[in-house]
Symmetry: C2
Subunit: 316 residues, 2 copies
Amino acid sequence: MVTFADIETAAARIAPHVKRTPVLTSDWFDQRAGIRTFFKAENLQTGGAFKLRGGVNFVLSIPDADIGRGVVAFSSGNHAQAVAIAAGIRGVKATLVMPDDAPKSKMAATRARSGEIIVFDRLKEDREAIGRRVAAETGATLVPPFDHELIIAGQGTAAKELLEETGQVDALVVCLGGGGLLSGCATAAKAMQPGIKVFGVEPETANDWALSIKAGQIVEIPPPNTIADGLRAPKPGKVTFPIVQKLVDDVITVSEQEIVETVMFLLDKMKIVVEPSGAVAAAAILFGKLPPGINTAAAIISGGNVDWELLRSFEG
Amino acid sequence: MVTFADIETAAARIAPHVKRTPVLTSDWFDQRAGIRTFFKAENLQTGGAFKLRGGVNFVLSIPDADIGRGVVAFSSGNHAQAVAIAAGIRGVKATLVMPDDAPKSKMAATRARSGEIIVFDRLKEDREAIGRRVAAETGATLVPPFDHELIIAGQGTAAKELLEETGQVDALVVCLGGGGLLSGCATAAKAMQPGIKVFGVEPETANDWALSIKAGQIVEIPPPNTIADGLRAPKPGKVTFPIVQKLVDDVITVSEQEIVETVMFLLDKMKIVVEPSGAVAAAAILFGKLPPGINTAAAIISGGNVDWELLRSFEG
């Protein structure tokens, strides 16, 4: 299990390379939601997402003997860009295996960070297998997107920073894809504020976590179709699942419509660009999905790499 | 003249009601501009603009004997919303005189803040005269948009906070409409860092300041047509002009195209929503308008109340 000490170690390791992003509040949001909410704006992180935290923590931990052969990662976008930036810090090559339907903006940004991209068919090919093949052929180190203790510890630094600024709150609300961010953040939150309630949020159409928690074991769903492209992992991770199972109070789902409306609300009223995946935690709060008795909440805005074309197509 | 002590007094007075907005950086921006830039994100201020600083400083200074009769202001939008919020703090009524072509989003937000709006024709009627008439008829206190020492001192708190965080920089870059923000910020900057260069930036099509500084006296231009609706004041203020004349190193102009491209850059790469007026300082840096020798800059992002329809029409 990842410990709070691991998160503190990660925080010290990544500090020179990762922004301490601002904590934002909005009286518009609070009024409509009925909950005083503090947002950790990881959309303003370098690379536009929290992924840099885990990526840098992992890549800085690769032994000198191995790092020269570079790194490889599979990702729909934000992890790819993070690994490309992390590789740059160590001066090595990054190869990114990305699905062919990844947002174009994320692919372009990854290329701009000097990452080399291999495209695959998300519905037919296994990205993990391709990633492992590249790793085997080149000797590059595979940087897992979420299911690794160093990744989880890195992501946990987001909640650590957030709760340091907010002080005591009733709840922490975090999006759920592979579970790396939530596992790390729940670990930090329960260590810092043992009485805090922690909620994971995922799209209704990508409810592998809700099904898995209910079943008491990992349940895989068919490749999910959701506008939240960062939350399309079809099943919980082997490392993240038991952490979420132990520390998280509940898993909440939000509809596609709720996600899109929240993206527009954050854009229009809070003046920040948030990608659909990054808005699901805020959506759960805005649309009254938390249980009664929650008056203050801390939420992670996980990323801002919006594909405007995709967003417009969902707006209808 | 406004002094740094006035700005410190304002800072203490407004602190309970005004956010200390974050200072943002972007490696994308720095790379393209060739200047390490620190942005004061006043688009994330309550009301979506820096205007709350001066508005609250002024309204909190109105004597108890007068405040009961309410306040009145004339504004294209952001000052109106600020005055409505400030009036709410004191529990009194705000009447806002707004041009009929003010962005609809700004009118709607002002109404949502319980402000009562009187619309006038910007090209035919004199908003100052209407404001003064309302003040005379109702006994309401007129809250000037920029040309008053309490307003200027309030706006100066933005630069004070910014330079407290950045430490020494080569330049401070601020937008220029009526000159309230620049006057206050220049006063703070030159007091805190006597060697700093201070630049004002205005749209090419609203270059009343550039003309006035060149002429050595206040020059009025016809009602300007620029997408930067917050910078359409046709002439410098009587109080702001001598301050800018004395403290500001140069006035720079940017084109409509440069403004729109900067808005899109800030949206796409920095994940923040910035209105055209709020982007002109960034535009001057991004498009190489600063003189050589500037390696680090602090810039104010003055507001985020974008009218999306208007922006799309300029994008073409």
